[in-house]
Symmetry: C2
Subunit: 203 residues, 2 copies
């Protein structure tokens, strides 16, 4: 995408920003965080390298602006959190399976995990993202004692399911029907949400 030389508001601004984001998304996914460079992103997007930092700041900021959760927590959490708290584990398990059974959801989730395991810096960015957008709102919704810890335990089962069932494809977990898997992990999630944990009540 060509960019005009004159300054001021340009009709191509949003197109340029989007072309950079598309190139960055592809390179982060295929090359990983470390081997993606601002210069190569600019080259692929067909823009001057200075525009990448103009529009997206640092490489870290660029990464943060192009990674995406497999869903938008603000759209989804209120609906999940409404209703009987004793069924929240079931609702979350069904929702998680629904996300991971869709090709786009699964691909985004695996992309996040791949980025997190490949580079400590990417892991840090992803931690900030999921803590802010997902775990903190979820913990506030749970409202129970030690809710942030409970939300992080829940995240551990969710990410483990994504890897064991969809990435490594461990059998028979990988081929078991989604409704069964959801039903079988739901009590795990429910205990993490509202059950007794070893550290609470305190001795």
């Amino acid at each position: 995408m060509a960019v005009r030389a004159h300054s001021g508001r340009r009709p191509g601004d949003s197109g340029t920003r989007e072309a950079i984001a598309t190139a960055a998304r592809r390179q982060f996914a295929e090359l990983g965080y470390d081997r993606t460079s601002m210069r190569q992103v600019a080259l692929e997007a067909g823009v001057d390298p200075t525009l990448v930092s103009h529009f997206h700041g640092s490489k870290r900021q660029l990464f943060l602006s192009v990674i995406e959760l497999p869903f938008t927590p603000a759209d989804v959490l209120p609906g999940l959190l409404a209703g009987d708290p004793q069924d929240l584990g079931t609702r979350l398990a069904r929702f998680a399976l629904g996300v991971l059974e869709s090709e786009e959801g699964r691909s985004r989730m695996i992309g996040l995990i791949r980025a997190a395991t490949s580079e400590p810096e990417a892991a840090r960015v992803i931690r900030e993202l999921i803590t802010r957008e997902l775990l903190t709102p979820l913990a506030e919704g749970i409202g129970s004692i030690d809710a942030p810890y409970r939300a992080s335990l829940l995240a551990s089962q969710f990410v483990g399911l994504a890897i064991a069932r969809y990435v490594v494809a461990v059998e028979p977990l990988a081929s078991r029907d989604p409704a069964t898997v959801a039903a079988d992990i739901a009590p795990t999630l429910q205990r993490y949400l509202t059950g007794d944990l070893s550290s609470w009540p305190l001795p």
Copy 2:
């Protein structure tokens, strides 16, 4: 490591094999499965490229021979499986935390996860390895109905804990003391091992 030109039994055979394995281990870990080549492994090991296939077969076989579980299941499982089946979840949870709290165990576990998420071929090799060496013996030890499925559910919580606590370092899970985390995931493991699952008893 130099290799002598004459044939027959050479004193350097085991040294050569080990030099190749060391180079392969490093390159698989740092470059991933796809970008590791037999030729580059030979170069780093200082041996003729034909010796890599001579000693280790195909690239897939080379990968399989150098990846390592964070522990030796045959050494560990009998001890864990002995004792009260109703406490097996606790024993496995404590063992898992012990492995992941050690630097070498954690590093191997993360290496396996990184390889599995980076290449489908590596994921397949790892799936075969953990199924054969870990999940099948564990399922035989559990002996309950649907034991292979139970073992794979257990693996999902284990791998998720490794990623959430040690790779992404989600808080407060990452900084909670290991004994507390072991106690909090133990009931999850125990239910997967011996508890009711949705699919059993069959309706």
